[in-house]
Amino acid sequence: MSQKFSFDNQDEELSPKQQIEVFHSIENDIGQSITEKSKVASWINDRLPIVATLENTLKKHPYPKNLSYWWNFGSLAGIALVLQILTGLFLAMHYVPNTKYAFDSVEHIMRDVNYGWLIRYIHAVGASMFFVALYAHIIRALFYGSYKAPREVLWWIGIIIFLLTMATAFMGYVLPWGQMSFWGATVITNLFSAIPVVGQSIVQWLWGGYSVDNPTLNRFFVLHFLMPFLIVGIVFLHLMALHTVGSNNPSGVPMKTKKDSIPFHPYFTIKDMVGFVAFFIVFGYFLFFYPNALGHPDNYIPANPLVTPPHIVPEWYFLPFYAILRAVPDKLGGVVMMFGAIILLFFIPYLDRSKIRSGAYRPTFQKFFYVFVVNFIFLGWLGKSPAEGWYIWASRIATFYYYAYFLIILPNLPKFEKILPLPSSIDEHYQQSHKHK
């Protein structure tokens, strides 16, 4: 494959299909496969090609050599998922999903089960760390245009993972059966009654009764246990989609020649390990010294359907969407805008019409992007403020900007935005950024 591509003019970008072909043409040469060196490996591989698959992923597949640490968050999210499943499994051995015993069973885990407090706190703090990794992973995609062709399906699978993780986290928070568990469940499940005609029936079907009660808790436990395994399956699809098209990179310029790429092992195995330890340091800081900083004290009060807490707030990772929900004065409107904020993400590959993939070369885009990020954080802060006074119109303005960014700004940016000159290849980008080191 000695065809030379020139991309001085961004309009001469390869088509998605061509990009995929080029990607597969620059695979690394791994020399002799393990299956040729080891009889055991070859025996297994003949019956289930798992050895070859692993070898391809680690050694054959080309990865851009200019990936930054923003590319660590995918594997961090994966580690977080594994941790949640392992700790969740052991918690489930002691937890009782019945309204009479749930709260006490969690205290039993904290006090009597050997290292139960550790398992429980890893699970609780781990959920927050999972969302830190997810949000950072999504921010990376939004900035570097990782959702653009040919990665649309990869992006969509990612949003599905995000939605499933949010559903899992929501149900998990109900399980300790504290005040916030119960009232958060009541507020959010009640939203479905906004659906016209069938809303109330749907909610009663969800509840298994006429309010959040034992049937609700029991089924939430079952679903909370089940969904992480669905997520694992979808993560496999996510990785398959990734390996079909190849990773994006900070320059947005696709891999074209072997000079642009390096194998996963040993470069990204070691770099991911650095990421894991940095992640665990942040994790450990909260886990060992401030395990309840990210939670709400009201969840240490056993659930009481007769006493409503003064402020009902979800966990921090839901706050921006909670703010959007409350910004709209109509129940159905609020629900539509809240879910809409996530459904909107599915359309980004078509809303962002810029031919330039990476935000690093789009200075006008960057300004709007940074405002978007700060606005999203601001929405989060508004989500935990009382829904009164100036907070209300601030939420409306912030919600407006959130939607305007995707529906108005992104589609129209290509008409007037300034573009910086792209590097001609990943190799060139890599040499540029390493000149100064």
């Binding site: 050599k65 407090w117 009201d298």
Partner: protein, 267 residues
């Protein structure tokens, strides 16, 4: 480009700082207005258990248990605590057996099918003053004295809050509309709390060690005990934490060096 990001983060920080300042204003003269009903920000005390090297002051916690037992347990349950837990704070096995056996625990049914009362054992949970929430409310004018096992974690800034609350009883100012059966407390939201001041005078409890049982001392001790009850794993957790963080920092340095060495090969 990064400048705008940094400026926005900077402004956000100023913003949150202003908000923090505004909530600290809860303690300013605006709230010293006699007829204010919002609670004052809790007094910020120094506790032995705070920080990454936090430890249990076992002597204080033992005295605190005595305060709980002689003053608070008349109305407040601590269902999550078992008598055997007292071993963690320094009581001997015999002392625990003695303490437990002072209580009558309902057990059963026996072979005749009847419930019966027996002396407490170390394996039993702390006895509750009331059979259930309704009995508790009925005996306290409709108010429910909350279970104290987790109270320190169940309130924002729990230890400082409980300390402030117990020291926050004052005479209601003139013109303040205090409902009947309520008590004026400057740290309680609304300033009207159903609980009467539990610690009224020095030496209300006779301490077994030489410590002078001032009101202040009893309140500090009971908060230390309540903190232990809410977080019995605290000391182990923080010890494990310091060791783990040191390990992780060293590991990080080693891995970064390894990463750089390996990436040298990338041209």
């Amino acid at each position: 480009m990064q400048k705008i990001f940094l400026i926005s983060i900077f402004l956000l920080n100023i913003f949150f700082g202003v908000i923090g300042f505004n909530s600290a204003k809860a303690n300013s003269s605006a709230n010293d207005n006699e007829l204010a009903t919002s609670a004052l920000h809790p007094k910020q005390m120094k506790w032995e258990f705070e920080g990454i090297f936090g430890r249990f002051d076992k002597a204080s916690i033992q005295r605190g248990y005595q305060v709980y037992r002689e003053v608070c347990s008349a109305c407040h349950a601590m269902k999550q605590m078992s008598f055997r837990n007292l071993g963690d704070i320094g009581f001997s096995e015999n002392e625990i057996k003695q303490i437990a056996s002072d209580y009558l625990i309902t057990d059963g049914p026996n072979d005749d099918g009847e419930m019966f009362e027996r002396a407490g054992l170390p394996s039993d949970k702390f006895a509750s003053p009331y059979a259930n929430e309704q009995a508790a409310r009925s005996a306290n004018g409709g108010a429910y004295p909350p279970d104290l096992s987790l109270i320190i974690k169940a309130r924002h800034d729990g230890a400082n809050y409980v300390y402030s609350l117990l020291t926050g009883y004052k005479d209601a100012p003139d013109g303040f509309n205090l409902a009947s059966g309520k008590n004026y407390n400057i740290y309680f939201e609304g300033r009207q709390i159903s609980m009467p001041a539990p610690i009224l005078e020095d030496n209300q409890v006779e301490y077994k060690d030489a410590t002078f049982a001032s009101k202040e001392q009893m309140i500090i001790d009971v908060v230390n005990f309540l903190h232990y009850s809410a977080e019995p794993e605290m000391q182990d957790r923080k010890k494990m934490g310091v060791r783990t963080m040191i390990f992780l920092f060293i590991l990080l340095i080693i891995l970064v060096m390894a990463k750089r060495a390996i990436w040298q090969q990338v041209k």
